[in-house]
């Protein structure tokens, strides 16, 4: 069964690209979640929509305007957060709303547009081409390299931005750099696997991992493991149950999260019972 499904080229490509996307989303995602930017992926896709509208309005190739507008929007959001006391999740919401409104108004101004371009936002992991796969592998390698390089600094900023600044880190620059990396991660991945998958891979494996790993390093490793496992499980499950792969992968991550929560809860319960028993048995001796 498994071998048979691996013979289809599109399944091979889905697995390879899916694993690459899972890795970068979970690594970049941990920092997004810790910065309270959990819905950054979702917001950025809306900005990309605005960017596509800009492209159609100005007759520039929309893929580029989408990328540029998204990154500018993300940088603007960072600036907004750095120069006001706005909470990070609210700044993400502003990014989302602005992108959307921009797109809609531009579309209104230009009196409609050719929708083909939206295919940009509507990837499906089964439709990944060979070139796409090569591209995402290269990009993933680059992104992971940058993240490895900035690892300690970004962790410091996630822990406490002010203390990081006081320690002499160029926090503002690093924030901009990170948000560009995150934007590239999201935009590159959206094209391949669609927005649904991105948002979930950013958040869910990381909150699951944060329940398990004590250290930062372990958290990253567990999160990557969970997201890669979900992608593989999800793709196989979607094949055998004939379900949409994106949705199936997301549901897999959610089940993993619930499983981990349940296990923790059970462990806690067992301990409490133990305690109670210990208490009771020790009582006579006092």
């Amino acid at each position: 069964m498994v071998l048979e499904i691996l013979q289809a080229g599109f399944m091979q490509r889905a697995l390879v690209a899916g694993i690459a996307v899972a890795l970068i989303c979970s690594v970049v995602g941990l920092f997004l979640v810790l910065r309270r930017h959990s819905l950054f992926g979702d917001a950025l896709s809306h900005m990309a929509f605005g960017g596509i509208a800009v492209g159609m309005f100005t007759q520039v190739y929309p893929l580029w305007t989408a990328l540029i507008v998204s990154i500018l929007g993300a940088l603007g959001m960072t600036k907004l957060r750095q120069s006001t006391k706005i909470s990070p999740d609210a700044s993400v919401a502003v990014l989302l709303s602005s992108g959307l409104a921009l797109g809609i108004v531009l579309i209104g101004l230009s009196g409609g547009f050719s929708v083909d371009l939206f295919s940009f936002l509507f990837g499906s992991i089964l439709l990944v081409s060979f070139d796409d796969t090569a591209m995402i592998l290269a990009l993933a390698a680059g992104i992971l390299a940058v993240m490895a390089l900035l690892y300690r600094k970004l962790m410091y900023i996630a822990f406490n931005e002010e203390q990081a600044k006081v320690s002499g880190l160029a926090v503002n620059m690093l924030n901009y750099a990170f948000i560009v990396v995150a934007s590239v991660t999201v935009i590159a991945s959206i094209r391949l696997v669609g927005i649904l998958l991105i948002s979930s891979l950013i958040v869910i494996p990381n909150i699951a991992a944060m329940m398990l790993g004590k250290s930062f390093k372990k958290t990253i490793i567990i999160s990557a493991a969970i997201s890669v496992a979900s992608v593989i499980t999800g793709i196989f499950a979607s094949y055998f149950a004939n379900l949409p792969p994106g949705g199936t992968i997301v549901l897999t991550t959610i089940f993993m999260l619930l499983g981990i929560m349940g296990a923790k809860y059970a462990a806690r319960k067992a301990k409490t019972v133990q305690t109670a028993v210990a208490e009771n048995t020790s009582e006579p001796g006092r």
Binding site: D42, S45, H46, F49, L100, G103, I104, I107, G108, G111, G112, F113, S114, V115, D116, F118, S119, L121, F122, G123, S124, L126, L127, G194, I195, L196, S199, N242, P244, P245, G246, G247
Partner: protein, 322 residues
């Protein structure tokens, strides 16, 4: 506004994404859509294996092809039930399925932009050789081609389409030529009957002007000497309606003393309702461009002819015919 994008979205990944980008969805852009394999009619069943496999692009052509092909052709449809076909796009799986069919029937006139991508074994362009109406709006030309594709709404032109389908079937399945010819002739006479039905029903009407939902009825209007206006000033039911346009429509209705605003099955009904609510004694009726039937209608066995008759009945109300 609203809706059209979603309407066009197939199921599965496309819809997913569209909703994810919530506004993209309701903001009306047409949809790049995909359909899960499960959604497309399954034509791999055993008994279908011996018949010629024909795939039609969207509902009217599916219905026409079924009429001509009868039980000797295994006919399926590309655009799934309940989905708006304007700017619809197939998924690779659907393309693959279509390319394995013996014949692909499509409307032409720029309605199906995806036809070339399919690389079908044999294609029938049902509008071939017809004198088509031009797409007047230069902006729209870029997106929707040079011509108005809504030929099927004119029974006379539909007869031409049926003939093209007959030709095609005869060509790929010569042994059954007589069968197909007979079926086509029978259906053509039904179309003739429809034509005269429309003529007589609309013969004594007080009005010539009506407000359709989108500009689907130009061929129809020309044939039966009516004047079409449309809520969506466009060949597709897409795009957000802006405040000024709403006002124009209300004024138009008032000026022409129109009391009925027509809506369609696959769009948000509220748009027509709002306009109707602004005009004296306004009401909303359906005037179907027969671009897609939902599953219930298909299950009920409704076809092109039934839908056309429904349209005529509703038009009679708006045009105040005796």
């Amino acid at each position: 506004m609203a809706s059209s994008k979603v309407l066009m979205i197939g199921m599965g990944a496309g819809a997913a994404v569209a909703i994810a980008i919530a506004v993209a969805a309701f903001a009306t852009m047409g949809g790049s859509a995909t359909t899960t394999p499960a959604a497309a009619p399954d034509n791999n069943n055993a008994e279908g294996a011996q018949k010629v496999k024909v795939i039609a692009s969207f509902f009217p052509l599916y219905d026409f092809t079924r009429q001509v092909g009868g039980d000797r052709a295994d006919v399926s449809v590309m655009v799934p039930p309940g989905v708006e076909p304007h700017d619809w796009e197939p998924t690779p799986q659907q393309i693959q399925r279509a390319s394995s069919a013996n014949m692909l029937v499509y409307n032409g006139a720029g309605f199906e932009k995806w036809v070339d991508a399919v690389g079908a074994n044999f294609t029938v362009n049902t509008s071939e050789g017809m004198s088509l109406l031009n797409n007047e709006d230069p902006e729209e030309q870029k997106e929707h081609g040079l011509y108005d594709p809504h030929i099927w709404l004119d029974p006379v032109l539909a007869k031409h389409q049926v003939d093209k389908i007959r030709e095609g079937l005869v060509k790929i399945d010569p042994p059954n030529a007589d069968y197909y010819n007979a079926n086509a002739a029978k259906f053509a006479s039904e179309l003739d009957a429809l034509d005269s039905h429309i003529k007589s029903e609309l013969s004594s009407c007080e009005k010539k002007d009506f407000i359709a939902f989108h500009e689907a009825f130009s061929y129809f209007s020309n044939r039966y000497n009516l004047t079409q206006h449309a809520v969506h000033d466009s060949l597709t039911p897409e795009g957000e309606i802006l405040p000024q346009r709403l006002e124009e429509l209300v004024k138009l209705a008032k000026d022409l003393d129109i009391h009925v605003v027509y809506s369609e099955e696959l769009v948000d009904p509220r748009l027509a309702q709002v306009i109707a609510s602004e005009i004296p004694n306004g009401r909303v009726l359906t005037l179907s461009p027969i671009e897609g039937l939902d599953e219930q209608e298909q299950a009920a066995g409704l076809g092109y002819l039934d839908k056309m008759r429904e349209d005529v009945a509703n038009l009679k109300v708006g045009l105040v015919c005796s």
